[in-house]
Amino acid sequence: MQKRFAAALLLLVGWCAVAAAEPPRLLVLPFEVSAPQPQEYLKRALPDVLANRIGQSRDVVVMQADTPAEAVAGRSPFSAALAQELGKAQRADYVLSGRLTQIGNRFSIDAALFDVKSGQLVERYSAEGADASDLIPKLGEIGQSVRQSFAARASAAPAAAAPPPSAQPPAVIAQPAPARKTWISKALPIEIRGIAVGPVTEHGRADIVLVTRQEVQVYRRRGEELELVARYSAPRSAENVGVDVADLDGDGLAEIYVTASAPSNAVASYVVRWNGSALQPLATALPWHLRLAQLAEGPALLGQGRSFDRLFDGPIRRLAWRDGKLVPGEALRLPGHVTLYSFVTADVNGDGKPEVVSLQSRSALKVYDLQGRVLAYGAKYGQSAVYVEDKRANNDAQPEEAQMPGRLRAVTLPGNGLGFVAAQNQESIGFFYRARNFTGGNVVALRWQDEGLNEVWRTEQLAYIADFQVSELQPSGEPMLVIATVSDFEGLTSKPRSFVVVTPLGK
């Protein structure tokens, strides 16, 4: 009897304690929506749905923000300052904010829970879906995770004032900030043409360098955000075509090598570097296409010229700094049809001799031996939206527009040895010479099997892939694919939108 009474008393005390403690107040902010088409209604609709899902719990009181969506526009939803400011204004204990990112049909929902008092990020949630039909269920999953977090907090410390919810693993999604497998940046209002990764502004720290038609932009990844560190405008008469970074002068910081086309069938490439406060030109009007290529003996900066008749003309030469000038050196011995964009020299088939893997515009991937014989054909990769229009000197012939072939990289594939990585973009029609309509793309890994280069894995479907790099962005040193995607191209009336996607190399 005593035991029963004691148990009942405990239950009563516990219930009273729970009843006495006010559940924490959670404010759900309007979502930021990054989608190809403006979908303003989603900014409100998403938190409404989410609030409904969370609000069915008795462990938390969910409040809808009385703040108009415009009030948070232009500010990062993951800003602790914003969470504190709005949370305090509505007397909330916690603030939940989020972003919906749509690329093609796929979407990603990212949400963050902030403690208003401390301004600290408490927990992150994320979910991905294949199309719009997944949106509501995924919001439900996030709502359930949030509810479980608060339930766990309530059961663990029912009388506590309002400590942060526990990090007990929720059902599906909540995870510490840096542990996501695939990371997608906020939408960038630019049309990316090339990407490079390297220590441009700080020793030992990788920056992400993006080039658009007219600009070089250097970003640094801070948490979930890309922070613009520096930018450099190309000469007005030039158009950027591609980019690489390399520390060829040995000062520990990588220079940025930009290939740019110029009027009258010219190439006017340039090199810029960080001077401690800004990017400054190191060399300009270089008459070569530039590429940091992978040769059998290691990476090297290479150059190739251009002529009236040919977008790539003359031998491919090594370039090196001499007396402050970038000068051409020896010509490489390569099969005749191989052009600077894009090739890799490596012992592809393990016969002890180097072969050349080459991507050329409008051509299937080819593996040559050094005598120029085609050893194998692959599928078509490296489809690109970057045109270099060659206004020919002669007659009324159609200008020889050339699409730059995309990047090709040799890498050590986890569990697969030597492999090659290339982008493969899909088109809705794919039959027109110039009117290309890209619907999405993947980065594809290939390796030599059965006397050919065959696909061993590919990334999930992304938007059009402008360029990619393989780099160790993570502190763990794990090689990551750093991919630049474009969901909206710049047009006479349309604004561009691009994303940077970081995903592990391998399945």
Partner: protein, 421 residues
């Protein structure tokens, strides 16, 4: 029993297929359909009965004719162009390509009568159709392509308007100058630049056949035309400079249309031309764009059909026929302001030998001196293209029997709208 199962399992390991990679399906062909939709709107100070609105007018109209002072605004979309570009796998170590190009500027009503069309007749026209092999430094082409003699440098605006300098010193080709031919070329790296030697054997259209349709591939000559070109390019200010010397040689045999073999008389009549073409960058690419000088000069005999001169031969009578000598040239300064915007100012002149023109005889006015200038502006943004130009042509005629001179000029304003796909 256990042993049997083990043996089966081990055996199964050997006969099981190796780990399957996803095989890529390789197609070595790539086919693209391209071209552009184009509309030309052209204002003329005097009606142009010589060519369509898509071309720069070649000469002024004779004073006092019905066309003189008859202002017109003409419209055409016939230079809308379609092409199919097929690229195949490597064959004999060469990249291979098949290219077919059409527009809609084919046979016109009344073409052979010299009367202008009252009604549009936008029939398709085969412009180019060739197969091509490209080795590293050697190439070969079979099919219809612009005659080699012309194909080095042309005025900046030629991609929008055909025949910018036609009849005014230009070696710009034209519809009759795309002919079936064999081409072969080789490039030599010389250290300081690249020398390309090209030879061609092509249809010789001759000057003395009736003005047949432009789709005509026949010829009265029993010999082909032989053409050569030596093209040298080198870097100047980090940009491409080009100089080319080209030659044309063709021969036809004219007859006296005799009723019997014994009465048959023949005379060989040659068409011979030499051209010098070039492009010279004026300084490096600057923040204000790039400047360039382009030009060409020629000497030719019996080549009016190729727009080199205004008269071909003095007569078609055996024993009397002599080729008319002509010379001319053009020069153009162009300023590519940005990759989107360009400006070009040029002028040219073509003259026939006065004595040759007078030898034609008669009282029909014959063009002896034709000159003009043009100013072009182009704007290109992605698939969109626009060009506007203003031009003037100044023509001088000679009356062969009296040696009297007659002059007139005409002005033209072009607006070209294009969407490439």
């Amino acid at each position: 029993m256990k042993r049997s199962i083990l043996a089966l399992a081990v055996g199964g390991l050997f006969i099981a297929p190796a780990a399957q990679a996803q095989h890529s399906v390789a197609s070595t062909f790539d086919a693209k359909l391209g071209g552009f939709v184009q509309m030309n709107t052209t204002w003329n100070s005097d009606e142009n009965d010589d060519d369509n609105p898509s071309s720069m007018r070649k000469s002024a109209v004779q004073p006092g004719t019905a066309q003189d002072g008859q202002k017109t605004l003409r419209w055409a979309s016939t230079r809308t162009r379609l092409f199919l570009d097929v690229r195949g796998g490597e064959l004999w170590g060469a990249k291979t390509r098949a290219y077919t190009e059409f527009d809609f500027d084919g046979l016109k009503l009344n073409e052979n009568t010299g009367q202008s069309s009252a009604t549009a007749a936008n029939t398709p026209r085969l412009r180019r159709a060739y197969m091509r092999w490209d080795w590293t430094n050697t190439w070969a082409l079979l099919g219809q392509q612009t005659l080699l003699f012309y194909d080095a440098v042309s005025p900046f605006g030629t991609t929008y308007i055909e025949g910018v300098s036609s009849g005014r010193g230009g070696m710009t080709g034209g519809s009759r100058n795309r002919a079936p031919a064999f081409f072969a070329g080789h490039r030599f790296g010389l250290g300081v630049g690249t020398l390309e030697l090209i030879g061609s054997v092509a249809r010789h259209a001759t000057d003395n056949q009736p003005a047949a349709g432009i789709n005509d591939s026949g010829t009265r000559a029993d010999r082909p035309a032989y053409e050569t070109m030596a093209k040298f390019s080198t870097k100047v200010f980090g940009r491409e400079a080009l100089a080319a010397v080209s030659t044309y040689w063709g021969e036809e045999e004219i007859t006296n249309s005799a009723a019997t073999a014994a009465a048959l008389r023949t005379q060989k009549l040659r068409s011979v031309g030499t051209g010098l073409q070039g492009a010279l960058p004026l300084g490096p690419v600057t923040p204000f764009g790039a400047f360039e000088l382009r030009g060409a000069t020629f000497r030719a005999t019996n080549m009016a059909r190729w727009n080199l001169g205004s008269n071909s031969a003095t007569s078609s009578t055996i024993g009397v026929a002599q080729p008319v000598h002509a010379h001319g040239g053009w020069l153009e300064a162009n300023w590519q302001i940005t990759p989107k915007y360009g400006l070009a100012l040029g002028g040219g002149r073509a003259r026939d030998d006065r004595n040759d023109v007078r030898a034609i005889g008669g009282t029909t006015l014959r063009i002896q001196d034709n000159q003009g200038y043009w100013l072009h502006f182009t704007w290109q943004d992605g698939p969109w293209g626009f060009m506007t130009s203003i031009s003037n042509v100044d023509t001088m005629w000679v009356t062969p029997t009296t040696n009297a001179e007659t002059r007139n000029d005409s002005q033209e304003l072009h607006f070209v709208f294009r969407y490439s796909f």
